[in-house]
Amino acid sequence: MHPATLRRHAPLTLSLIAGLALWEVAGRSTSAAFMAPVSATLERLRELALSGELTNQLISSATLFATGFALSVIVGMPAGLLLARARILRVAVEPYIVILYATPMVALIPFILSMMGFGFAPKVLVVFLFAVFPILYNTIEGARSIRPELIEVARSFRSSEWALWREVMVPYTLSFTMTGVRQAVGRGLVGMVAAEFFLSSTGLGQLIMGASQNFDTAGVFAAILIIWILGVALTRLGFMLERRFAPWRE
């Protein structure tokens, strides 16, 4: 290998090997209920995958996440555009959006539980509440940053409100919405796991809970690994979408 390439990749390779070794040693040198080594975690992951349990729980979690997330895009984007367009409306509700954005949404879970019970809908609501605000907020900020000239030009060509939205507002704002979507991925995943922990136990959350109640630490690590991969993959996807819709933003 070329020495420069070697120097470039050596720190990463070495640190990955060191990290895995540390995980393995830490797992082996402590009690099995405390920490599971990589080898045991991967072995458990293989068992879970072969038994079909992993697939089932993954599908259950993915359905929950996708429903809640889709809802927050469907609500967040049009609402954001509307608020950016209607100045009086935006001025009126902006402080309340800021307050809700800064409120730890988890605190609402006990209320959702006692009012809506254990079904699918309350869990979707939790994911929605976690994910919607970054999307809404970034859409408003994006649509507000449209240069007034663009709207004035459209107006002087007698563009209808509908055409203005379709040709100017939506295409311009989409990249900002995608920034919100990327930020919302992490929050939405927290919402998903929180819903699965604290409302009816399903999906990957149930996998973690069940494993930890059985002191199956390898199972806990295996489930965390899957959620982590999900988080990294979805965040990557968010970055890709952001770039895809914003070739003109630096």
Partner: protein, 270 residues
């Protein structure tokens, strides 16, 4: 109404006053939200469900309740401790990966990886490691807060203008002194936006930990009261949490403007 209190852009738009333009619509919207909430709950929901009038009546009762005060103190202490630990270690780690290319290549993937992990999944692990104790809650808040500080301080330390460093080098400034006198102040805005994220995450961490571990605190206060169908009382806890979130945000925005006026990254339009 004194014009000196107005922002310059608003002053230019005068004579239509800020009061009619901004305050009235906001108050109207707030009133509207409260009325719709009150009416909906009265019409459709069981009587225990929180509604504005009930919450208002509960506030004077709750804020003198010693149990509530103890819960608030306990949660805030855990958040403050967790943030302090996260800030010390997060800043050190951030400076390291921001200024050393080797450290960056070696550690960046771990930092980004942990940052992408929904922190709530570690709850079962921290209870395994620390038991159902306050230490488990503290560990959750540290874990929740740490990585946003590392990432932001790292970005800040990386983006120090090269000329600054070169000037320091040519005056033979020792590396540690350069770090303290140039890199750290220059990374300050990034640090503050990292802290702003961290505060929110630490609050969430403390609340979910209390739900999970069932130890005394605001989160548990909310859980306990809503389970015993005292939603109005429980909601006072939510309001307090929201106030902390908003207050911390405002404090950090204010300090950025007050102490780092040269910083203009996320300057808002109006």
């Amino acid at each position: 109404m004194s014009s000196s209190a107005l922002a310059p852009s608003a002053a230019l738009r005068a004579p239509s006053s800020r009061f009619a333009d901004v305050v009235v619509p906001r108050l109207a919207a707030g009133l509207g939200i409260v009325l719709i909430w009150e009416a909906t709950v009265r019409a459709f929901a069981p009587p225990y469900v929180a509604k504005p009038s009930g919450i208002l009546l509960a506030i004077p009762r709750v804020i003198v309740d010693p149990a509530f005060l103890a819960a608030t103190g306990s949660t805030l202490a855990a958040v403050a401790q967790g943030l302090a630990i996260a800030i010390v270690f997060g800043t050190a780690l951030g400076l390291l990966i921001g200024r050393s290319e080797v450290a960056d290549r070696a550690l960046r993937h771990y930092v980004n990886g942990f940052n992408a992990l929904p922190m709530i999944v570690i709850l079962p692990l921290v209870t395994l490691w620390f038991g159902y104790t306050g230490a488990a809650r503290l560990a959750t808040t540290v874990f929740a807060a740490l990585f946003s500080i590392v990432v932001n301080v790292g970005d800040g330390a990386r983006s120090v203008p090269r000329e600054y460093i070169e000037v320091a080098r040519s005056f033979r400034s020792p590396r540690l002194k350069t770090l303290g006198d140039i890199v750290l102040p220059s990374a300050m805005p990034y640090f503050l936006s990292g802290v702003r994220l961290a505060v929110g995450r630490a609050l969430i961490g403390a609340v979910v930990a209390e739900f999970f571990i069932a130890i005394g605190g605001l989160g548990y206060f909310i859980l306990f009261n809503s389970r015993s169908f005292r939603h109005d009382e429980a909601f006072v806890g939510v309001l307090l949490l929201a106030a902390f979130g908003v207050g911390a945000d405002a404090l950090i925005n204010w300090s950025t403007r007050r102490f780092l006026p040269w910083y203009r990254r996320d300057e808002k339009g109006e």
